[in-house]
Structures are given as C-alpha cells and as structure tokens.
C-alpha cells in the first residue's frame, strides 16, 4: 500500500510538471496544444537514448529539456499565424508523426519495444528508500516548475501572454510581437514537458511508443481543465486528482468484480466524463484563474 501511494505521488508530481507546462501554454497563452505528449516524449526518449549512451542522468535530463524546447520552438514556428483550432489539429498531427518515428526508427528508439533497462535514479538505494528519494526529487522539480510558471505569469511577459489569449490584435497594437511570444512560451513549455518526460523515463526505467498515444495528451488536458485553466495551483491539483483516479480504477475491479478487459474502457470513459462534466458544469475548473489586483497590492 505504501509502495502504491508513493508510486501515485511520484506519477502525480511528474504529470504535474507536464500539466503546469500545458497550463502555461493553453491556460495562460490560449495555445491549444494537442501535441503536448510529443514534447513529453522528446524529453523521455532523449533521456533514454543519452543515459543508455552513458551520460549521467542530470546531464541527460538537461539535454532532454533542450531537445523538447527545440520541439516547442518548432511547432510554434509552424503554426505562427494559424487560427487556434487549426493549430490544435496541426499539433495533434505532429504528435502522431513523432510517435510514428518512435515506432519505426528501431535503430534509435527501439521500435515498438521501446527502450528499457535504463539505470534510472538513485541506483544505490532500493525499495521504499529509493521511491522516497525519487519522490523528493520529483516534488522539488515540480515545485521549481510551478514557481517558474507562476513568476512568468505575473510579470509583463505573462500579462502579454494573457492579452494575446484574449485579444491578439490589442496585444499587437500595444507593440507586442505575438508570434515571438508564442514561440517563447512554447519553448519554455517544451522544456518543462521534456523535464517531465525525462523524469518519467528515469523513474520507470523504460519508454515506448505506447506511452505517446494521443490519449496521454488528453490525460494532461484533463488535469488542466479539471484543475482550472490559467491557474498554476489548479494544474497541480488536477494532476494529483486525475493520477490518483487513473491509478485507482483498476482497484475497482477487485471490489465490484469487473472483467479485466473492461477496466481499460472504464478508465477512458471515466476520464472523458470528468472532462465533459468539468467543461459543462465548472468551466473555470476547481481552482479558477483569479484576477490580479495590482492596485490593492501596491505598497
């Protein structure tokens, strides 16, 4: 049980980072990235390939972040003047292309089997101690990511992103180059997603193309929409809730005797209905974006 709780917490922290990243893109900046899992995957595969080549994990993690930031930069350039929904579909397609490359380029990515046998984090420790150390690392990185995102949201950079989300013409009229802003925020979001992906690989000591299915992007979207688009704390809360639920559903079958091939469908169904319910009943999410009252806060 303790092991399971630790596992859920570690996964929550890892996906929390990915959710904070998506929240910066979609919540703050209004960029509907339906290819988030590709950025995550670039980081994950980069770390797998580099650690297998003998690089120590912190260096591999940094390289993975850089690679994913480059990926974010690329999809930002790609859709520089597309309307939002069209860009969303383009990112979905890009993510599928990334997954196809992972699936087909055996020499680099191990093909359908993926890359396993990665040394991972803290090989000196074992059992709960190792899990605890991993959790501490993941939580610290989540905290750092969340603080970074919050800081970026409250300065002029974030103000311009929010203005771009709601009225790009006005942002342009006030002298802000919104294409440059998009590209910057996607690169930053990419680095964060790459960090999450790299941690994921290191924790599970494995990465494969099945981890890059569009459903995973959707899972991250669920966290952000449930928690509250535009609020960093919301993304973290959403990640914790959704991860717990997702990991907990298989236990249901022990309680209500569901056939095991149904649990997969049930999981998907549950996630879908959460998003739908959140969108219809509480479009602002559990922790809504709040107005920044600069005047009242002045010294």
């Amino acid at each position: 049980m303790l092991e399971f709780c630790l596992h859920v917490l570690i996964m929550s922290a890892i996906f929390g980072i990915a959710a904070v990243s998506l929240n910066l893109q979609a919540g703050t900046s209004g960029l509907l990235n339906f290819g988030q899992i590709a950025l995550f995957g670039i980081g994950a595969y980069a770390v797998a390939i580099l650690t297998r080549a003998g690089l120590p994990w912190p260096a591999a993690l940094l390289a993975g972040m850089a690679a994913a930031a480059l990926g974010g930069f690329a999809i930002g350039r790609l859709g520089r003047d597309l309307a939002a929904e069209y860009w969303a579909l383009a990112t979905l397609a890009v993510a599928e292309l990334v997954r196809l490359v992972a699936l087909n380029e055996d020499w680099l990515t191990g093909g359908p089997q993926g890359i396993g046998g990665i040394t991972g984090l803290f090989p000196g420790l074992d059992g709960p101690a190792r899990a605890l150390a991993t959790l501490a690392l993941a939580a610290a990185l989540l905290l750092a990511t969340a603080l970074t995102a919050r800081r970026l949201g409250e300065t002029q950079f974030g103000r311009v992103l929010r203005l771009m989300r709601e009225n790009p013409d006005l942002a342009t009229a006030l002298g802000h180059d919104i294409v440059a802003c998009k590209v910057k925020v996607l690169a930053i979001g990419g680095a964060m997603a790459g960090l999450a992906g790299g941690l994921y690989t290191l924790y599970l000591a494995f990465i494969g193309p099945d981890q890059l299915l569009p459903f995973e992007t959707f899972l991250i979207w669920t966290m952000v929409v449930l928690g509250g688009l535009g609020n960093v704390a919301g993304a973290v809360v959403g990640a914790l809730l959704v991860t717990t639920l997702y990991a907990g559903i298989p236990f249901l079958k022990d309680i209500v005797a569901l056939p095991s091939d149904l649990t997969g469908s049930l999981r998907v169904f549950a996630i879908g209905s959460i998003v739908l319910a959140a969108l219809m009943l509480k479009p602002q999410g559990l922790v809504p974006e709040r107005l920044r009252r600069l005047h009242a806060q002045r010294p």
Partner: protein, 273 residues
Amino acid sequence: MLSAHDVTRSFGGLTAVNHVSLEIGAREIVGLVGPNGSGKTTLLNLLSGFLAPTSGEIRFDGTAVSARRAWQPSRLGLRRTFQLPKLPARMSVLEVMLAGGRLPAGASPWRSLLTPGAVRREEAAFLDKAMGLLAEVDLAGLADHPAGGLSGGQQKLLGLAAALMDDPAVLLLDEPTAGVNPSLRRRMADHLRRIREGGTALVIVEHDMGFIGDLCDRCLALDKGAVIANCRPDELSGNQQVVEAYLGRRRPGVPLRVVAGGTAGAKSSGARA
C-alpha cells in the same frame, strides 16, 4: 511623420480604400470623416500596419510600415485604438494599462526570473503612470476591476489610456467618443489637446462633427474609399461632394447642417447602418 502614397486596398471585388495619399505632420490633429462603410477603419488598419495595402506604400518616420510586422509601428511610436475594443474579461484595468507600457525587463522571461529587482522598479514606475492616465478618464476607481466588464464607453476610454502608456508620436483613434457621455466628451477633447501639447499627432475617426470641428486642424473626408475633401473642418459644410456623400443627392428643401447641426452627419449615416 506618417504618410500614405497612393494606397489602395480591396477585399475581393470591393475597393475599401481607393488611391489614398495623405501626410500627417508632427503635432497635427486630423479628423477623418465619412459615412458608414466609407473605409475609415480600413484606412486606419492600413496606416497602423494591421492590413497590407493591395498597392501603394505607407511610411512612418522614414521607415516603411509592413503588415508582416504589425507590432513594429507601435514600438516606433505609432499607436492606434479600435472601434470595438473587446477588452479581456480576465485581466484587470490596471493590467491592460501595464500591457500598454514598455517594460523590457518584465517582458523577458529570463529577466523576469533572474532580475526581480529590475522588474519591480520598472513596474512601480509604470503603475504610477498608469494610475495618472486612468484618473484622466475617470477610471482610477476601477483599476482592479475586470477590463472586459467595463461599459462600452469605458472600454473605449481604457483603450485610449492604454495606447498613451508609451507616449506615442502619432495616435490613430477609431471613434474615440462613441458611447462616451457628453460631459466626459468635452473633457476628452481637452485631454486630447493636452496630448497634442505633449508632442503627439492625432488622427481621429469621428461621426460627431461638433467634436471634430472643435478639435481638428484639418479634416479628410472619405467616400467609397476615396478622399473627397481635405480642408478645415468648417469648410466641410460648403463642400458639395461631402454633403452629397452624407445626405445623398441634394433634394430641394433639405437644410444643409452638416457642421452646424453637430451630429447631423452621424444621425443620417447612423440611420443607414
């Protein structure tokens, strides 16, 4: 300061702006009038780089204005407002004001993270400036309210105030007084005059002839995309073409009161809208 050379813009078969040339000097206040659909907003979009001309060229302060870098004129000191501001619902009034300022430290993600001191100092200076400008348009008390929640007239005022955050050399205003009440309108005219004293040239699209006559040094009248008059505001009512553009072909017995009647032009064109 700002000039257009033989600028044309068409949408499909419709020519919204037709071979327009103009020249705006420093500290000038120029009115832009014309019936609904005559191409005023389109001309403003062209001048500010929001639309690319089908042919012709626009220059501001020596550099060509390009629609591929619509943000650039604003940084060089050419700013505009919108006919319909559509301000963000989830940003406060003061935040919109700050977004109008030039805060290089805060606008850079790196410096936001690494030099909090510089970011704070810069922000404090612009907060003072923003509160001062808000006071001029009676919005200081609403500084922490959602900008999108303001009334239509208040949104127009906020749009104007935000454009002033960077002390532009030329300011293009699209119907700044639409939806603003008469007493505030008079104060707004004073305010705009003070802005000109501060060194800003103004181009004002307006239907309120009284406001135009009161404020402008010069007037351009547009009809069907073409400039049909370029004269002092009080000369407009004597211009046969302008009168016909507003009232249709002159019928006997219809009094001509374009300027003297204040908003006669606005009313007649409003009825057609």
